[in-house]
Symmetry: C2
Subunit: 216 residues, 2 copies
DNA sequence: TAAAAAATTTAGATTAGTCTAAAAATTTAA
DNA sequence: TTAAATTTTTAGACTAATCTAAATTTTTTA
């Protein structure tokens, strides 16, 4: 149907489309660690196949059909991540690269049965929503810890960054999905935050507070 | 490490090596549904990488390193088949094609954890042995039903053919792995066999009797 | 044991995906 | 509002895997 590479392009365009209407060649190249010239070639091919809307020099958007393909890859990626964490005891920082491979396994039957086997989970280990077999999903409404005020509480429900380094750091501080936190102090000089998780006080930088998300 | 295609060649050579010492270009081409000219090219590459022993016009054998790669692919193939049948309720005739894709997922960690998750099974859904993480395995000692005599009994433990059509046929007759059978009659004209499984009499052709295997 | 047949390899193309370097278009900013 | 900077596309090449057709080697067989 679509090649491994085409699927990766569609997924990248989908993710980049969340921030802006139209996605540029250079952004795609950066996101896939490839060169702009290669991207241009692929954009022509994807447009040819009716998966993207592409006008020279104007950037691209996904067509309905392209979005459907992208969402299916994302569904598979997140379901496999859930499987790896919940059934095979992987840590949340170890699953992304394996899921990058597994997401390209084509069998629809496999994904749907896997989904059922796990009880049709709605969110992956990082708090990202898992599209159902029709591509429908509901994202949590989230805000970064950095926007909270002193004495407010919230439940950790997502992350804005998925690097193993960041996830490992969070885990070490017990700042994982589902934990309830309370803002104890905000340092007005560097915007770092002291919060409490399970009666322990943790001091996090502004950057961390920006990338750690709380359910509204 | 090795490409998807290289892995498929090594696996094909491994399977063909069971019947003969040295494997020919044409046999590989037939087994992979490709052309002899393509095979020759790939053999040069695999020899270059030290994965096969290849002398022009003389056929090939796997090196120790090539065999190790092949066994790892086979390990993954069979473990995934076991997973699909035991955990996701696939039928034994539905798993092969999906496993052909899954066997190329590279993560060693994934396979080993999957192995543990399922309790380190020794045989796949078709009775084929699953190599352990060191590539060691023990095949059942098997003989075809066609070599059995009247009134002898045995336990179905493997198949010589893996086509969905054959497997579906067997399933319909209740002739599945683990079932005990007894030879009731052998038709000396066409070598067809009447046997009993769980008090039911089943009439199978010589061809089926040849491809259905009993533990010694 | 020399033709004929079969198997295998080589030669030359093709396709997907990638790259660098150069050209063209767009955006920015003086 | 034109020149400079940036972005994007084109041109031309390369690699992996494949193919067909032709050449070569091995095997068969008469
Ligand atoms: Mn991921
Ligand atoms: Mn995730
Ligand atoms: Mn199989
Ligand atoms: Mn099998």
């Amino acid at each position: 149907m679509n090649t491994f590479t085409e699927e990766n392009y569609l997924k990248a365009i989908y993710h980049l489309s969340i921030k802006e209407e139209s996605v540029s060649t250079n952004e795609i190249a950066a996101s896939l660690s490839t060169k702009a010239a290669s991207v241009t070639d692929m954009l022509k091919k994807l447009a040819e196949k009716g998966l993207i809307n592409y006008t020279k020099y104007q950037g691209v958007t996904l067509t309905a059909s392209g979005e459907k393909v992208a969402l299916n890859i994302i569904r598979k990626h997140r379901l496999w991540e859930y499987f790896l964490v919940e059934k095979l005891n992987f840590k949340w920082d170890e699953v992304h690269d394996v899921a990058e491979e597994l997401e390209h396994i084509s069998s629809k039957e496999l994904v749907d049965r896997l989904d059922d086997f796990m009880g049709n989970p709605k969110y992956d280990p990082h708090g990202d929503p898992i599209p159902d077999r029709n591509g429908k999903f509901k994202a949590y409404e989230l805000k970064p810890v950095s926007t909270m005020e002193v004495n407010h509480t919230g439940v950790i429900s997502g992350v804005r960054e998925h690097s193993p380094a960041f996830l490992q750091y969070l885990e070490k501080q017990q700042l994982v999905i589902g934990k309830k936190i309370k803002i104890e102090e905000i340092n007005s000089y560097d915007h770092s935050v002291i919060l409490s998780v399970e009666d322990k006080r943790v001091h996090i930088s502004r950057e961390v507070a920006n990338n750690l998300l709380i359910a509204l």
